[in-house]
């Protein structure tokens, strides 16, 4: 419709953002602003890109709803990639509805994909999964399809479903090579490495070995009783007892699990559970109480037997006890164990769950955030915490075209 815009859009589609900019650098009409915004985003200047797309959306006329909606989707994707989670989700949803109403199926699907990625990023797995189910990926061009499959894989990995994760990653690899975008292919490879990188350590009969995601998934089915220090649960194939809210009980279970089939002296248990250096009579009394509580919690899975010098675990059904610990032991394992479910938490909910003071939890979260182990979004009471997203998260931009009638 407009020669220079057409030429610039073609340059952009061919992966030449500088060529696109050259053609429309001096123009301030709506399509030129939109193209400049997308080109700037691809060059990596996300701040300038956002400003340009905003003014483009304003400059498009009343009748150019589709073009304006595409600007909004591009803006949302940039916000997502720059981890700006304050960006209004409602605007994205409205833009998607506009694109759908005008038959722009590709960009509507792209918008939906951005919405799902946002939910995954903020740790709303159930919602992300539900929305994913409504998304038809078929009309998507290869690049967006690859991004879509990465999201599917990301959810599967968080849910410890390695088979579906592997299948999604295979589809992602095909789509990425079809799209022929090196950055996207690298993204898929990075995500795929998670399946061949140890995700935890296994301690059994005094020996340690690294464990792949797949092996972690298979562990409960192997008939072993698993004391999982990544999520603070004790489980076998049939039953899981969460102890995340009972850090002392979990510490005891873990110490007993690590020593199995041997026993653990009282002094060691006291040191690990209460962090006490010397065991006096009051500690011994408290240990008896806590062992009694643990016994009640896990009674269907294992018995806790008294020995001459301390206690030992005796599994009811399982023939083996395995302790699962993170690849690297972290500070504040109890906090991380909660966040390991991949959902987002408020610090006050964490404090209640942990039975700790809000200040203590806040301090732990801040230390973990400084170490890059957790991240937050939102402010004040709305602030939520979660572990950084695992895979599935293309940082690459796959912005929609922003031309009217194009």
């Amino acid at each position: 419709m407009d020669s220079l815009i057409t030429a610039a859009a073609r340059a952009l589609a061919a992966g030449d953002p500088l060529g696109a900019l050259k053609r429309v650098a001096l123009r301030d009409d709506a399509p030129a602003l939109a193209l400049r915004g997308i080109a700037m985003a691809q060059i990596g200047d996300l701040v300038r890109a956002t400003a340009l797309l905003k003014s483009a959306a304003r400059a498009f006329g009343r009748k150019e709803a589709v073009a304006r909606a595409r600007c909004v989707v591009a803006e949302a994707e940039i916000a997502l990639v720059s981890r700006d989670l304050t960006w209004p989700a409602k605007a994205l949803d409205a833009a998607r509805a506009t694109l759908e109403a005008h038959g722009d199926r590709i960009n509507a699907a792209h918008a939906r994909n951005v919405e799902v990625r946002r939910l995954l990023l903020i740790g709303r797995l159930d919602e992300a999964e539900r929305m994913l189910a409504t998304l038809d990926a078929a009309p998507l061009p290869p690049a967006s399809r690859a991004a879509h499959e990465l999201v599917v894989a990301g959810i599967a990995i968080r849910r410890l479903q390695t088979k579906s994760a592997r299948e999604a990653l295979t589809r992602a690899r095909h789509a990425a090579s079809e799209a022929d975008i090196p950055a996207l292919m690298a993204e898929v490879e990075r995500a795929s490495r998670l399946l061949i990188t140890p995700a935890a350590r296994l301690i059994a009969r005094g020996e340690q070995r690294p464990l792949l995601l797949e092996e972690i998934e298979a562990l409960p089915a192997s008939g072993a009783l698993v004391v999982d220090a990544c999520r603070n649960i004790v489980r076998d194939a049939r039953l899981a007892v969460p102890l995340a809210t009972r850090p002392v009980l979990f510490a005891l279970a873990r110490a007993l699990g690590e020593a199995w089939p041997g026993d653990v002296p009282r002094g060691v248990l006291i040191a690990r559970a209460f962090r006490g250096k010397h065991a006096d009579e009051s500690h011994r009394a408290r240990l008896r109480v806590e062992i009694g509580r643990l016994r009640a919690e896990i009674r269907t899975l294992a018995d806790v037997k008294a020995t001459k010098r301390g206690f030992a675990l005796a599994p009811r059904r399982a023939c083996e006890i395995a302790v699962l610990v993170p690849p690297v032991e972290e500070q504040h394992p109890a906090v991380l164990a909660f966040l390991a479910d991949g959902e987002s938490w408020s610090s006050s909910a964490l404090a209640i769950a942990l039975g700790a003071s809000p200040r203590t939890v806040q301090r732990a979260l801040e230390q973990l955030a400084a170490a890059g182990k957790v991240q937050s979004y939102g402010r004040g009471r709305a602030r939520r915490w979660m572990t950084p997203p695992v895979p599935g998260f293309p940082t690459i931009l796959l912005l929609p075209g922003a031309l009217p009638g194009d």
Partner: protein, 209 residues
Amino acid sequence: MKRSAAEILREYGPFPGAEQVHGVSFDGRHVWFASGDKLNALDPASGETVRSIDVAAHAGTAFDGEHLFQIAEDRIQKIDPKTGRVLATIPAPGGGDSGLAWAEGTLWVGQYRDRKIHQIDPETGAILRTIESSRFVTGVTWVDGELWHATWEGDESDVRQIDPETGEVLEVLAMPADVGVSGLESDGGDQFFCGGGSSGKVRAIRRPR
């Protein structure tokens, strides 16, 4: 002003390798349409594309009886349709050039978002005069002394005849919703050929008499 719905007589395409149709023109036998990096000749009787010329083709196309004119980026190329060679280029009026037509020794260029039609000197590109429209201008064509142009704003598009002196709208043929006209050319008789933008189609509509 007369207002009616455009009557679509026939649709051609989409054509393989041509994602978008920009300008259209007619040389008496074939419809030429610009598809980004090619000018393609379409036989309107059979609906087949019979040949193509590898040349940058981003917007309007015109035919002066001997040469093709094609807008690419910010210039207008003069092309020998027999050899496909670019014989000369002149600057386009600049910034958002859209439709192109030939009439009585001069070129007419639509400026999309500026809602203007410029008459320019085909030798130098100098602007001779400018007509204002009330809509975004895409294709432009002359037939029997009538100036017609296409408009496309968002999901609304029409083909309209305007008074070349005053710019007054004389007749409007409204396209169906979400059917856009990117390029326009008369066949000299009862039809207009319309480029369909990203639909990748060329449409023939009836010219009212």
